[in-house]
């Protein structure tokens, strides 16, 4: 229903856009707005158009301040208006400390609903077909190599080259949306692994992955490193740097595939896989054993060991007992190996994995914290305040750009972690018989929905507002003057108006908060079944703090990427 609502909202917005093509400039925020949908005011015989009531109010209060003046306005995109921000914060607080407490008691049952897709005709046959991930993987690998070639050899102007926009605005932002609906489907068609597996067909040593590294710390480190170069060095605007990052990732995947058994890199080292793995606990798609009885009677365990039809689970999962999406790459190998046709591909409600007990792990908990901190950090670097902070630190401490940037990034990483650590301590005091580490790890999963939904809200802006520019670049990916599809001269409009975007963003943050509260409650009940609301209080406070920070970030104006791109 929520999904239908979101789609409806976007659709309605799109329909409204159709009204008129004439556009004007909002005098307050310098955004482009459409005549048909914009509020307008007649002032001194001239009609002014506004992106929102926020700008309109500001203009009406002091029209002189926004008259053509010498001071140039930044070409920024307004964040959500104050009334929306205030309403959102109020709503979140009411939900957290009152309303949800009443409804929360009944939660749980609804998440067990499933719809088995393999019961539909043709689905199982398709999954068992040898073409089933191989064909889409080959296509995507070819596309991937073409984009890398564009990044390396195409015009190095980011407005003329498809690599930066496709990678950072469409893929990296769109990936999070894909996870919401199809889980780790990216891993299924992953071009890095496609190339690596193809290479490993010629040679593989099948060494065991080092025992000390059988965790996801390598992936956490890679994620931090990528965020650092992405935002610090601005590689999102340098085609060649984008291509080199893609190739570095490819090198790691290929070397790991040649050295280690199965898809060790996918399980332990890949940052995309691990980030999407945690988020995929939320997705609406799962692969599970259909009938536990059949599995209990099974003696061959082909799903883990592999047989002539396909390899055993490439990410070291036991499909027969797998209860979480985290490490499942939806490769469909278990559909091929299972002699009893006992695997099922199922639709399910969002967040179903968070209701499962599972085995909480410290590395996963830290990745959840890092995700929360880094998605917020990502948003923060695009606000106009960020360059001022970096410059301010540079001046006051007399350090270089890199030091200043790294310090602030560390601070942004440390602050949420510290806040969380302190509140875990407070929660511990009210949970008798629990260890600090246990509570720390258990509650960290409750941060995931907040991270995911802020991530979605932030990326919605990139994806819906900037993504359509891809149409133009698709016709001339190298910037060499081609016109492959006849779209090279198009100037596509955003998929959504600003006000529509705000609605989507606010709804996403509130939704994420609700999920977080629900997971907190489950975790608290597991820790002390008779504890009531009190032990949850510190954690709920943490959730409120993080959600309000998300809203605050959305309220800030965002700097547009460069023109022409």
């Amino acid at each position: 229903m929520v999904l239908a609502g979101l789609i409806g909202l976007v659709g309605l917005d799109w329909a409204r856009q159709g009204g008129g093509d004439k556009t004007a400039i909002d005098p307050v925020c310098a955004m482009e707005v459409r005549h048909g949908v914009a509020d307008s005011v007649l002032h001194e015989g001239r009609r002014f158009y506004f992106c929102s009531s926020y700008c309109k109010d500001a203009f009406e209060k002091a029209p002189e301040a926004y008259r053509p003046a010498d001071a140039p306005a930044e070409h920024t995109m307004r964040g959500i208006p104050t009334w929306m921000y205030q309403a959102g914060v109020g709503f979140i607080i009411v939900l957290s400390f009152g309303l949800f407490e009443l409804l929360g008691r009944r939660s749980g049952r609804a998440l067990e609903a499933r719809f088995d897709l393999t019961r539909l005709p043709g689905v199982r046959a398709a999954l068992k077909s040898p073409l089933m991930p191989a064909l889409p993987r080959a296509v995507l690998a070819a596309l991937f190599l073409a984009v890398v070639a564009a990044g390396l050899f195409g015009d190095q102007n980011p407005a003329m080259n498809i690599a930066p926009l496709l990678t950072w605005t469409v893929w990296w932002a769109g990936l999070i949306f894909l996870i919401l609906f199809a889980g780790k489907a990216w891993c299924t068609v992953c071009p890095w692994d496609a190339v690596a597996s193809a290479t490993a067909r010629f040679e593989r040593l099948k060494l065991p992955w080092p025992r000390a590294a059988r965790n996801i710390w390598p992936a956490v480190a890679l994620f931090l490193a990528l965020t650092w170069v992405e935002l610090g060095a601005g590689i999102t605007l340098i085609p060649r740097a984008t291509a080199w990052v893609a190739l570095a990732m490819l090198a790691m995947a290929v070397v790991s595939a040649v050295l280690f058994e199965r898809k060790s890199f996918c399980r332990y080292g890949c940052l995309v896989g691990r980030v999407s793995g945690l988020y995929a606990m939320f997705s609406s798609l799962e692969v599970r054993a259909a009938d536990a009885g059949t599995c209990a009677a099974c003696r061959t365990q082909d799903c883990y060991r592999g047989n002539a039809k396909a390899d055993g689970c490439p990410t070291f999962e036991f499909p027969r007992s797998m209860s979480l999406n985290t490490y499942c790459i939806l490769c469909a190998d278990c559909f091929k190996t299972c002699p009893h046709d006992n695997m099922a591909l199922r639709l399910r409600p969002w967040g179903a994995d968070l209701a499962v007990e599972g085995k909480p792990r410290a590395d996963e908990a830290w990745l959840a914290l890092v995700l929360l901190a880094m998605t917020g950090f990502h948003g923060l670097t695009m606000t106009p305040s960020w360059p001022r902070w970096v410059a301010g630190l540079q001046e006051s401490w007399g350090v270089g750009y890199w030091t200043s940037f790294s310090l602030l990034m560390t601070l942004m990483l440390g602050l949420p972690a510290a806040l969380y650590a302190v509140l875990v301590k407070a929660a511990l005091a009210r949970t008798p018989g629990a260890s600090y580490g246990g509570v720390f790890v258990r509650y960290a999963y409750a941060l995931l929905p907040i991270a995911l939904f802020y991530h979605l809200a932030h990326n919605a802006e990139h994806f819906l507002m900037e993504g359509p520019k891809l149409l133009r670049l698709a016709s001339d990916p190298f910037g060499w003057g081609w016109n492959l599809f006849g779209t090279a001269a198009w100037r596509p409009v955003p998929l959504i108006t600003l006000e529509g975007l705000w609605g989507v963003q606010l709804a996403l943050v509130v939704l994420g908060h609700v999920y977080s509260l629900w997971v907190t409650e489950r975790a608290a009940r597991r820790a002390s079944p008779a504890g009531g609301f009190l032990p949850q209080l510190p954690m709920v406070t943490a959730m409120v703090a993080f959600s309000v920070f998300s809203l605050w970030l959305l309220r800030q104006p965002m700097q547009m990427r460069v023109s022409g791109m």
């Binding site: 140039p72 015009d155 003329m160 090198a251 040649v258």
Partner: protein
């Protein structure tokens, strides 16, 4: 100690390849000398690869030459150098060497077929190669054609694949196929008037690619872009790479043995060659080594060499008992043909129209950067000329703002600010904000960029009554080619792959020998 032939053959092949690479350099050297601009270029190219090429050309041409001209000792002997530089034109496909015209047989026959006539120049150019082929057989294939080096490399690669247990395929193609290719190609040329075979013919490809590469290299260097212009290489290089891979992994001896139309032609004319490999039956121990060594897949052990033998003499190297010998079978006949060839070469002239040197005025072009952005009803057209400016040289930025709906042209002021985007983040403004110069409806700026790198140009304008800033990206200078790191990375990976494979093979062998 047996004297081996293959080092000599390899040296000749490498010498020919070097000459093919040097021909365009010599032509460019001669051009600069004739235009009296060599000294200027020497200075401009100092410390660059193109400078080294020119120096090498001068070093070669100056061998044994007194550094003196017009009675001034120490001055560059310009006239003599130019004279000498004119002694090598063309490539292995068609060349003039010391005044002697040489046309590859396939080139000659295809031209004749395409034009449906035989011109005198063609006859003189063909005479020497034709006579030599009749005398010596397919020696062009074994000793001159650059494909010989590619095939040798492919054989080594094949050995590596076998060592790595990668199991290269061994598809057999009939040696007769090449005659079909030749027949179809000549027929198509006669029918359509288009010579097509030279697109597939390795000596033609190598010569063409060499000229294209050096021409682009020197032309771009004159415009101060010194990187190696790999983009000048075309489909021909890809084809050679493809032949290498096919020979190594799929069909050994694929091209020369079975498909080359030129090889077919040389075989036909080499049928009654006088220089032949002969076998002393008494010394032969039927060991089969010569048969296995023959790159053409012939059987010298049973005297089945036929017209395909290119006298590469690999069988002589392979023979453990020296049972194989090479020599002229009819001494008098050989001397007569040789004399005829010498007689012809004295009167052979250079063929007109051979692409040994061309000055393409279209290259290098100065492309324009054009970006368009909409601000309200106004469309802002941002044009940079040149699109990829050089550091330290003044470049133009032109801005045109209009309303496409009403065709009204923007009449306000436009200011420009230019900032360098540092590689490690941060920006440094070095220009403006400065008011535009008006040229009719155009707004012009002249910006001099301090160094190579990424820049951001910010336009300030008041469109629709609202002050706006628009940021446009720009790249200055020639970004370094990604080929070097790409090649290094690929090389490192291949080494890693070979090492991993070797480890596994060793491990498997140890397991097999263990009890």
């Amino acid at each position: 100690m047996k004297v081996r032939v293959w080092p000599l053959r390899r040296a000749v092949q490498l010498g020919v390849l070097f000459a093919i690479l040097m021909a365009p350099v010599l032509a460019r050297y001669e051009h600069y000398m004739s235009a009296r601009s060599y000294e200027k270029m020497e200075k401009a190219f100092a410390g660059r690869a193109v400078g080294v090429w020119l120096k090498a050309a001068e070093g070669l041409l100056g061998v044994g030459l007194r550094w003196e001209e017009g009675g001034v000792v120490g001055r560059r002997p310009r006239k003599r150098l130019i004279e000498r530089a004119r002694n090598l034109y063309g490539s292995a496909w068609s060349a003039r060497v010391f005044g002697l015209s040489l046309t590859d047989l396939l080139a000659g026959f295809e031209s004749a077929a395409a034009s449906r006539g035989l011109r005198a120049v063609l006859v003189t150019g063909l005479a020497v190669p034709l006579l030599l082929t009749m005398l010596l057989g397919r020696v062009y294939c074994a000793w001159v054609c650059p494909m010989g080096l590619v095939s040798a490399l492919a054989r080594q690669l094949r050995r590596l694949l076998v060592f790595l247990e990668l199991k290269p395929l061994s598809v057999e193609l009939s040696r007769a196929d090449k005659y079909a290719v030749l027949a179809v190609g000549v027929f198509a040329a006669a029918l359509t008037g288009l010579p097509l075979l030279h697109h597939l013919y390795p000596p033609a490809i190598v010569g063409r690619e060499s000229h294209a590469l050096f021409q682009a290299w020197f032309d771009r260097s004159e415009a101060e872009m010194f990187s190696v212009p790999w983009q000048a290489l075309g489909a021909g290089t890809l084809l050679l790479g493809l032949l290498l891979i096919i020979e190594a992994a799929v069909v050994p001896g694929f091209w020369c043995r079975a498909l080359c139309p030129g090889g077919a032609l040389y075989s036909l004319f080499g049928r009654f060659r006088l220089l032949r490999v002969t076998r002393k039956k008494a010394a032969c121990i039927d060991c089969d080594l010569c048969d296995r060594a023959c790159p053409m897949g012939l059987q010298p052990m049973s005297d089945k060499t036929g017209m395909e033998c290119d006298n590469c003499l690999a069988c002589l190297d392979a023979c453990p008992t020296d049972a194989l010998k090479v020599g002229f079978v009819k001494k008098v006949g050989a001397a007569a043909v040789l004399l005829a060839a010498l007689g012809v070469s004295a009167s052979a002239h250079h063929i007109l129209g051979i692409p040994h040197y061309a000055y393409d005025k279209e290259w290098p072009q100065a492309p324009v950067l054009k970006l368009v952005e909409k601000v309200g009803e106004w469309e802002v057209q941002f044009t940079g000329y040149p699109g990829r400016p050089k550091p330290g040289v003044r470049a133009d930025v032109t801005v045109y703002v209009w309303d496409p709906a009403t065709s009204a042209v923007y009449d306000g002021s436009i200011r420009l600010e230019a900032a360098q985007v540092r590689a490690l983040g941060g920006q440094r403004t070095f220009f403006g904000p400065e008011e535009s110069r008006r040229n009719g409806t155009l707004h012009k700026f002249s910006v001099t960029y301090p160094e190579d790198g990424n820049y951001e140009l910010t336009l300030h304008l008041t469109a629709g009554g609202v002050p706006s800033t628009l940021r446009f990206p720009l790249v200055v200078g020639d970004p370094p080619s990604p080929w070097r790191p790409l090649g290094l990375g690929t090389g490192a990976f291949v080494m890693f792959f070979v090492a991993a494979r070797a480890v596994r093979i060793k491990r498997a062998r140890r397991q097999r020998t263990a009890p």
